[in-house]
Amino acid sequence: MSSLTVVRAGALTTVQDLGRPGHAHLGVPRSGALDEPAHLLANRLVGNPGGCATLETTVNGCALRTDTAVTVAVTGAPCAVRADGRPVAWCAPVRLPAGAVLDVGPARAGLRSYVAFAGGVAVPPVLGSRSRDLLSGLGPDPLADGARLPLGAPCGPPAAADVVPWAAPPTGGLVLPLVLGPRDDWFAPQALRILAGDGFRVSSASNRIGLRTDGPALPRARTDELPSEGMVLGAVQVPPAGRPVVFLADHPTTGGYPVVGVVPAPALAAAAQAAPGTPVRFVPVRA
């Protein structure tokens, strides 16, 4: 079986696929690629089904050496991509010769790039998924320098795409649609105006569990304790300090703080690419 060796792990590089939904009742987060469209595109470019595992980088990319010739593609956050030092295309299939080092550079915009290999990263699945879940620790460890990861057998020809249109990560500001509820009645009426205003920025404490915000506190109409209830992807939970947290793929399955609204899943790819300091607004939309 062919494999890849980690030359430079980067700040945080994890194996991700489409996650392990269906186990939330056991306390198992869904996990999976944060920017799912970028993960799917990377797979498509190398001829993989969407469920094959890719590598998700954070901020400063990573570098890898494969022991056999393999087709790769890098999507998500735009970055310089090099094969043995020579520039190659971002967001396109690239044929790497055996032993070549693929260097995925720092994100020029956004945070997370996705690296797909024909055949996928073939670490053993846990509960049907190869995703690393940073909340519960399920799945393979984040990449470390020198680690080796198995690659699967290529399963199809790479996509015959030269140019793929792709929305740039948010730089000017992140506007997240918000379907109100189930606990919007726990907040004072002015909370909605504050959410839609220009007071919030993406906090540096954000991670795969949630996009945290800095900004004004949302005033509550009720201050009693909410018994734990089930949480969905995109839920905007408001802890006692009042700054909203948008739940991303590794979010806890239950939580005891009120959810003012839910960001529909298609809008979360942009949230996954929003760097700390990015202004963020929550615009109520109809369900």
Binding site: H25, L26, L127, P227, S228, V262, V263
Partner: protein, 212 residues
């Protein structure tokens, strides 16, 4: 589970593909959850990706047409508590937890009475959360509910049996925790390589047995 006969669930939309069904309390949530599983097993529900019970709610996530399902649920008559009485999972425990004296004081009994009392109760997994395989077990009478520790521990070993509020729980893996620890079991609550990975799922009955 008597109050369940007159159950009138409140159904709240959650985003575009989920519903939160809110009932009066923990018993009602367990009855409603059992009813959902019964209907799903009978093929009487549309596909639902996740059914997540909690303290007094059941979340239905990954629903194609939540409005239609909400309208159907509003018309349900949920029979009172035929919570299937399967064989309980029995967990042998050494009652030597660090908070045993504290719990004995809160219960108003001698320390050596705590194991006998705790092992005499019948528990049920009301819901899971906090960590994979961590069950919130109900069944302790109200006068034996205890508060969480004022200061959580940074590391609680796997297998620790703890109490908090109305719940008993067993830590499936080592983690920080604020529950009052009364003992420890060697049974593996969570093993992703096992089928099923979680020994305790919502609805499972549980008893504890003192290791002499």
């Amino acid at each position: 589970m008597t109050g369940a006969a007159a159950m009138r669930p409140r159904v709240l939309p959650v985003g575009r593909h989920a519903l939160l069904v809110e009932v009066a309390g923990s018993e009602e949530a367990q009855v409603f959850h059992a009813e959902l599983l019964r209907r799903r097993a009978a093929g009487a529900l549309p596909p639902i990706r996740e059914i997540v019970p909690a303290a007094r709610t059941v979340l239905l996530d990954g629903v194609g047409d939540p409005h239609a399902l909400a309208a159907r649920i509003a018309e349900w008559t949920v029979p009172p508590a035929d919570a299937a009485e399967g064989e309980p999972v029995v967990l042998p425990v050494r009652y030597d937890g660090a908070d045993l004296a504290e719990v004995a004081a809160l219960w108003g009994v001698a320390e050596e009475e705590v194991p006998r009392l705790h092992a005499s109760m019948s528990f049920r997994v009301a819901f899971c959360g906090f960590a994979p395989g961590f069950g919130y077990l109900t069944g302790a009478p109200e006068h034996l509910h205890v508060p969480r520790r004022a200061t959580p521990r940074t590391a609680v070993p796997a297998g620790s049996v703890g109490l908090a509020g109305p719940y008993t729980g067993v830590y499936p893996s080592s983690s920080p925790g604020g529950w009052q620890l009364i003992g420890r079991t060697d049974v593996r609550l969570w093993d992703p390589a096992r089928e099923p990975a979680a020994l305790l799922a919502p609805g499972t009955r549980v008893r504890f047995e003192e290791i002499a």
